[in-house]
């Protein structure tokens, strides 16, 4: 009996002591809440916002946004692009090192890019190299038709990294800010076998911080300053703690007790925090809009007057002011403000009322279009199904009520479904009207315009004129003339907006509670992810 008691006591002590790890003073570190666990610490698997935030702390890429939202060389020193716009030669900064002190060379970029294109790795984000830009041979490699060695990347020496594209891509350096393009050291990768990215020990850092606590589906992620980072002097925090808190109210309680310094505020909590002086609305670029399925399954939606009537019957201002509140703005065009800039530095979408004629709320004009459409179709009423993510019920009820009130004979059936179901229906084209949203991957209007190409996943809009205008913006000639290209880009938006091919509803800002002693927290122009250079926290 005594022996058993002795072992039991020993077991208890072991359990208790295993919980006593070294103490870190949490008040001196930045404590940030995110809503879900990152997918992986392997940056090529990055595909969602939470993984994106984690990667920003320990990964770096050739180009990055600084805290003034300017695109600046990071691991690259400079680059040159060939006459045809297809070959980019990046000059890597001298003396770069990984977090274990080994040198970071151009070969690491070659290996990193190859892993990203490897079908066996299976990154969900490969559309960045097959759709957003066309990295040479990436599509064929992913289809298993060519070996990885045929990918259009090479390193003639330790400081030169060459990328070849199949089509010019004017925003290529912007695209490279995605951490999927982080370098990877081949020797280290192979030393970890198939465990690369599965824990903090199984990755190397080349970013501002070293990942020093991570496990798959971690609820807490911890970073310490990376002394080998090329710009370590500008890193002002000794450590960062990211806490995964799925419940927003729990996160708010943590924020109010001081355990959290930064948290994103969404949904119902916006109302609770509306008057909080620490509530910050950072520019965002996500667009919420209605896909009107024009694939022929509902001939009524092929009628321009019907589409115009729908677009002009929605009081977007009422929805954003009275339903959604902080951080939401009505949209009557596709491109949100502050997302892309003209060659002279002015905002590409500075005139947010450019397409008001086709999209602003005007029930009288809408009724005229509606009557015209009904008479062209020879019907007196019609019913559409509006599909949406279940959490968007309030907005959709308001949209349906406005449409039914302003367009006599129109009946809207609401169908709230889980996100996965909506995505599946969208991919199969099985919808009539769908409230969708889009978070751009890079700061170029084509990131939005590509949604409406005839061969886009949703297949909602079919207009050869639109497709042709879009294709013209991607030519070699246009890649060398940003001014002319921007003019063409405007034309692309003119075509779809004048045709009421889509119905923009609203854009969202990024609403964060940021403690007053924290400064330098920014989001990039795409609105997704964060900029961490210049992030600091004063004691107290």
């Amino acid at each position: 009996m005594r022996k058993i008691s002795f072992y039991l006591l020993g077991f208890l002590l072991a359990i208790i002591l295993s919980g006593c790890s070294g103490k870190i003073d949490a008040s001196k570190e930045l404590n940030m809440a995110i809503s879900g666990s990152p997918l992986s610490a392997d940056p090529v698997m990055l595909y969602d916002g939470n993984t994106g935030i984690m990667c920003k702390f320990f990964c770096s890429t050739l180009y990055e946004y600084n805290n003034k939202k300017e695109l600046k060389p990071a691991l690259a020193e400079s680059y040159e692009v060939s006459e045809d716009g297809l070959t980019y030669t990046f000059h890597i900064k001298e003396g770069l090192k990984w977090s274990d002190g080994r040198p970071l060379t151009a070969e690491d970029f070659v290996f990193g890019f190859r892993r990203f294109s490897d079908p066996n790795v299976g990154s969900n984000a490969v559309y960045l190299i097959t759709d957003c830009c066309k990295l040479k041979n990436a599509e064929k490699i992913l289809a298993g038709e060519l070996p990885l060695s045929e990918l259009g990347v090479s390193a003639p020496d330790n400081l030169t990294f060459i990328v070849e594209l199949e089509e010019p891509c004017t925003y290529f350096t912007d695209l490279l800010t995605n951490n999927n393009f982080t370098p990877c050291n081949e020797d280290f990768y192979h030393s970890k076998g198939n465990k690369y990215g599965s824990s903090h020990d199984a990755v190397l850092s080349c970013g501002p911080y070293i990942l020093d606590r991570y496990e798959p589906l971690a609820t807490q992620i911890h970073f310490v300053k990376n002394p080998y980072y090329y710009d370590s002097d500008s890193i002002l925090l000794s450590g960062v703690n990211i806490q995964v808190i799925a419940n927003q109210q729990q996160a708010l309680m943590c924020y109010e007790t001081g355990a959290i310094d930064i948290m994103e505020v969404k949904g119902e909590l916006l109302e609770l925090t509306d008057d909080d002086p620490e509530l910050n609305i950072l520019p965002g670029a996500s667009l919420y809009f209605l896909f009107l399925n024009q694939n022929g399954s509902r001939p009524e939606l092929m009628n321009k007057n019907i589409r115009m009537a729908i677009s002009k019957s929605i009081d977007r201002q009422d929805i954003t002011d009275n339903l959604l509140r902080s951080g939401f703005s009505p949209m009557t065009r596709i491109i949100p403000p502050g997302f892309y800039f003209e060659t002279d530095g002015t905002d590409y979408a500075i005139d947010q009322h450019l397409y008001d004629e086709y999209a602003i709320y005007d029930p009288d004009t809408a009724l005229t279009y509606w009557k015209q459409g009904l008479s062209e179709l020879g019907v007196s009423s019609m019913t559409f199904e509006l599909i949406f993510n279940s959490d968007k019920i309030t907005e959709c009820e308001a949209i349906a009520a406005q449409l039914e009130r302003n367009l006599p004979g129109l009946h809207i059936e609401l169908l709230g479904v889980p996100f996965k179901e909506r995505s599946a229906r969208r991919a199969k084209g099985e919808y009539e009207i769908m409230l969708s949203n889009w978070f751009p991957d890079y700061s170029d209007p084509t990131s939005f315009y590509a949604l409406y190409l005839s061969n886009a996943t949703a297949k909602s809009y079919h207009n050869p004129e639109y497709d042709e205008a879009y294709d013209k913006t991607c030519t070699t000639e246009m890649s060398k003339n940003a001014y002319e290209r921007n003019k063409l880009l405007h034309k692309v938006e003119d075509i779809i907006m004048e045709d009421a091919g889509t119905v923009p509803i609203y854009t969202t800002g990024n609403t964060y509670l940021i403690r007053s002693n924290v400064s330098g927290f920014q989001t990039p122009p795409t609105g997704t992810g964060i900029i961490i250079t210049g992030l600091s926290k004063e004691e107290g």
Binding site: I15, I16, S18, G19, C20, S21, K23, I24, A26, G36, S37, L39, S40, M45, Y47, P119, N120, G122, N124, A125, V126, Y127, D131, L142, N194, S198, R213, E215, P216, L217, A218, T219, Q220, H222, N241, Q243, V244, I245, A246, N247, Q250, M253, C254, E256, T257, A259, V417, P418, F419, K420, E421, S423, A424, R426, A427, S436, W438, D441, T457
Partner: protein, 311 residues
């Protein structure tokens, strides 16, 4: 005896296979797949399904899965943490769940036994009211509700404990979760302890011991406690499994990196392989514990009948 044990093991295996097959079917019937996303093209989804064998018929998938499982390979995660072996995911998180569950169990058992035995031995009115209130609350109120109350009053208002699990202070940040989980255990153990102790107190051998001139304390310590403990210990086993598997909401609430969060996240993103693997682990846990209990019963108490006819 051997025949009885063999029969029980066979039933357990068939039960697990049936559970697995039903789970497979249910997950197939659910809308969507782990790869539903706005930005994935149909071709990319097809490549991913092929990579993980999800393009094959359900029966083939099921048989492959069972075959791999028998080799100890639970597969990899498709969506939550792509390509991470599920055994690694569970191995990383199970110790935390085990630790919190164990302490919840320990606290609940000790306080429950104390409350149950004290109420049985000292037939005190105030103590009885106290017992009734505590056990009624413990049985009727789900542990996550206690967790919410602790979170609000002790964590948020009182600032006595951290609101979330923190690896930098694991003990203080686990206290609220442990106490919330222990209350249900405490109630069940208290009721069992009181009932058993009251029965034993009325038994002939206790009466005989008293007649022999043994003091109340000696009788209780030497005979009553010992004989009341056995049923309590048997109920503890199933309570422990319940704690390990039933702490889903509490883990989520306190951001505890345990297996509960793993399951809820996997269900949310249709990560079939993780859901099935965890359901399998949970089923095995339950079935094995129940099997051990059944076997223990007939070892401890020969009066337990095996197979319906007297031996």
């Amino acid at each position: 005896m051997a025949r009885y044990i063999g029969k029980r093991i066979l039933i357990a295996i068939v039960t697990i296979l049936v559970i697995l097959f039903i789970l497979f079917l249910l997950l197939q019937l659910m809308p969507g797949s782990p790869f539903n996303d706005e930005k994935l093209s149909a071709e990319q989804i097809a490549v991913l399904k092929e990579k993980y064998g999800l393009d094959k018929p359900v029966v083939v998938q099921f048989l492959t899965y069972v075959k791999n499982m028998l080799k100890g390979d639970l597969g990899v995660s498709y969506a939550l943490s792509p390509d991470t072996p599920i055994t690694d995911l569970i191995a990383n998180r199970f110790p935390v769940t085990l630790k919190i569950g164990f302490f919840g169990m320990l606290l609940g058992t000790l306080t429950g036994m104390l409350l149950g035995f004290l109420t049985a031995f000292f037939k005190n009115k105030v103590l009885n009211v106290f017992y009734n209130i505590l056990t009624l609350l413990g049985v009727a109120v789900p542990s996550y509700l206690f967790a919410m109350c602790f979170s609000y009053f002790l964590g948020y208002r009182g600032k006595l404990f951290p609101l979330l699990y923190d690896f930098r202070s694991p003990i203080s940040s686990s206290i609220m979760a442990v106490v919330a989980m222990s209350l249900g255990v405490m109630a069940v153990i208290a009721r069992f302890s009181k009932a058993e102790a009251s029965d034993v107190m009325k038994s002939d051998y206790v009466l005989f011991a008293k007649c022999q001139g043994l003091s109340n304390t000696t009788t209780i310590l030497r005979y009553v406690l010992k004989n009341s403990m056995m049923p309590v210990i048997t109920v503890m086993a199933s309570l422990l499994v319940g704690l390990l598997t039933g702490s889903l909401v509490i883990e989520q609430m306190f951001s505890i990196p345990g297996v509960g969060g793993l399951l809820t996240n996997a269900i949310a993103v249709n990560d079939y392989s993780v859901v099935i693997a965890l359901s399998f682990v949970y089923s095995v846990l339950y079935i094995v514990v129940m099997l051990i209990l059944d076997i223990m019963y007939c070892v401890i108490d020969p009066r337990v009948r095996l197979g319906g006819k007297p031996e």
